[in-house]
Symmetry: C2
Subunit: 164 residues, 2 copies
DNA sequence: TATGCTCCTTCCCATAATGGTAAGGTCAAG
DNA sequence: CTTGACCTTACCATTATGGGAAGGAGCATA
């Protein structure tokens, strides 16, 4: 099976298959006399495994560890589970960060007229979060029931650290 | 104000300040005779603006557009709001992707013994999602009430596209 | 004044994972 | 034998940030 076929049947781009080989994630396959890579069904299986791991948000290095666990027939399922749950916690931390951003922005957008006037609490927040928040709180003061949202907004500001 | 001071008071690393200058995100500041960059309080303000935008998950190019809107005193707040809401939708799409991953993995981990035995549905799913899901469904068949979770799991498989 | 410490400068390299492109070789069918 | 689809390697780009080297500048103290 040529690399193009392997790519189609595994769902991993040919470019990526070569890359995975170059970093030692998969073994170099046998070659034809002309130098064409030839993949076995075991190779395809490994590629599908990697593809699925990537789809579940594992990094390539994590996929490497999962492959090692997969091949180690004597691994304890506890090790795999711990590895997976560590990843779940990573995912949930990222989710929480994104939710904080989203909520802060939604809140700011709510207080924005969204008409032809230039005055905009979103830009005001970017220019000076403390002042903008004060303004928003004052505007919303008559209605107390959304106070929770404002607290969420505060939390979002003290968290941060994104897109590293 | 030297770049070190500017970094400290704006929260943007000196390295990043130089980088932002190099890509034209901020204007090149005046220099001392010795070539040291000297920043004004307006510069610091812009840096804080960028920092805040980044904290809210905007890319550098998006921060550039926000800066332009900020400086355009005649912009309509509707434009800013639309821009912010577009970003909120982006964030929420990413959140949904991560949640699908997290839920699928949590579900798989739930069906994993997590003891010293090697048998592990998590690795089974990675090796062959269809078979692993069948196995999990069979194991859970006696208890019907968690069927929703399995559907979510299915969705996770058809979504994908992560870490670009 | 000489030494030393901290800060500044530019330049280059590295990261993670993928896409693109170019120049050239191969295979199979017409 | 030509053509088109496929393969090969090699290099460059992306996003945002960090690290480090080599050398100059500023300031304080012995």
């Amino acid at each position: 099976m040529n690399i193009g076929q392997a790519a189609t049947t595994s769902g991993v781009a040919a470019k990526m298959i070569r890359y995975y080989e170059s970093i030692g994630l998969i073994q170099a396959p046998v070659r034809t006399e002309a130098g064409y890579r030839v993949y076995s069904s075991d190779d395809i299986h490994a590629l599908r495994f990697i593809k699925r791991a990537r789809t579940l948000g594992f990094s390539i290095e994590e996929a490497r560890e999962l492959l090692a666990l997969w091949r180690d027939k004597s691994r304890a399922s506890a090790d795999v589970k711990a590895f997976a749950m560590k990843h779940v916690r990573d995912l949930e931390m990222k989710i929480a960060e994104l939710q904080a951003m989203s909520q802060t922005l939604r809140h700011l957008a709510q207080t924005c007229h969204g008409d032809e006037r230039p005055d905009c609490p979103i830009l005001a927040d970017l220019a000076d979060p403390a002042v903008a928040l004060d303004t928003a709180v004052k505007k919303k003061a008559p209605r107390k029931e959304r106070h929770d949202a404002e607290c969420t907004c505060d939390d979002a500001k003290s968290s941060a650290s994104v897109q590293h």
